[in-house]
Symmetry: D2
Subunit: 137 residues, 4 copies
């Protein structure tokens, strides 16, 4: 089975920080998105491959736990890990201060496959995902 | 006790919609934020009053359940309801298609009070919030 | 000829304000976009009508002059005015403090028609736009 | 005099792309911001140094020329170059497709110094900037 973890490093940009001097909580979902894109790229199943396979994968649930605030110019490691794939695509995220290694944030997103022809939600992940992951169905 | 619900109406703008033609999931936290601002304004406890009272209220948890996708130019009612205030500020959100009344989204955010002098998290909501809400401690 | 001006009112939300307490300069293009959408809606030529007519109208130039900073919770009037339409779609924007009427911001965007079939840029605005505007070509 | 150019590389993320499949025009100011931060960091005059020196540097004008659209997952080089510093801070930006080297975008931002004590705009750049740049006044 392929590696199910990906990491990116970001440096908190000016526009993400609020008047309190910390990252506005809604911006974290962008950090998650970029780490997820890296992960999906790794398993050769990024947006264009998803689309070509005939399935959309909308996010049906997202959750963030803000343990420590992130600050302007802080360098942050964002780790995305695929934790469930059989019926839905569940990815867990962790953010760490790049210097101290301290965990600042946890989160997860859940996506389900939608057949783009019928517009129906799938109750099990389509074969194409299992193939990408190198697991048998 | 004061009214603990507020509503805003938004029309989904172009820049919030992704290449699939639906609102990118991270944008919903902005809709929540604007409904929460309306609610906090109603109880006279918006950002400036919070700051004047000596407490910051960082979001420590956020959750979104995407039931139905939102589309470009869709008119959406966003309702914020204060559901917990004793130890933390928990607000629940619901989004509805303004025309059909169908619920499209659910979510919640949790905030805790932080004493800005000591930078310590409070284990109970400070008196100022209870006063704003018109409840006795 | 139809009315070529539209106005929206916004209240500056928390997430648009930076650590200096003023709106981050990149956010103004969203305010412009929402006023432009209102204007295009007025002439019945919003995104869906554009698309149905076979033309895309990408923005090829944008400019903003920040005269006075905008502040958290400030109520702002955003006015969009169509100032050129023959060869390209040029819209001028002005922002005003809703209370004092003082102008805080100026800007403009320029869009050109692109024939979605040939993917070629048009050197004159297509007839469909002139029809929407109620002008003869 | 110090090097007045900085470059960053970005990969266009999902949330920046609109329903037409191209980057929404307002997002480019974020790319500019991140390249400018890199540049200011290089001359040791990023946000915290600016603040410590007693001056704010609000953006008073921004301009973008969109030559070619940017696409999802495209790798883009963003170059920021300081082109004027005596009376105001003027930075020019160019974006290039990282693979072909083709220029896709041009732009510029202008900032002026504001004395944070008096809240007055400065008609000449304060000595601290000239010192950082290694030029004599």
């Amino acid at each position: 089975m392929v590696d199910l973890t990906a990491e990116i490093t970001i440096k908190i940009p000016f526009q993400d920080v609020d008047v309190m001097g910390i990252v506005w909580h809604g911006n974290y979902l962008r950090y998650f998105e970029e780490a997820r894109a890296e992960l999906m790229d790794k398993i050769d199943f990024s947006y264009f491959e998803m689309k070509a396979s005939g399935y959309a994968w909308p996010v049906v649930e997202a959750q963030v736990k803000y343990v420590k605030p992130l600050l302007l110019q802080q360098v942050v490691l964002v780790r995305a890990k695929l934790v469930e794939y059989e019926c839905r695509l569940k990815i867990a995220y962790e953010l760490f201060d790049a210097e101290s290694g301290e965990r600042t944030t946890k989160g997860q997103t859940t996506q389900v496959a939608v057949d783009m022809q019928s517009n129906e939600m799938c109750f099990a992940s389509p074969q194409v995902l299992l193939d990408k992951l190198g697991v048998s169905s």
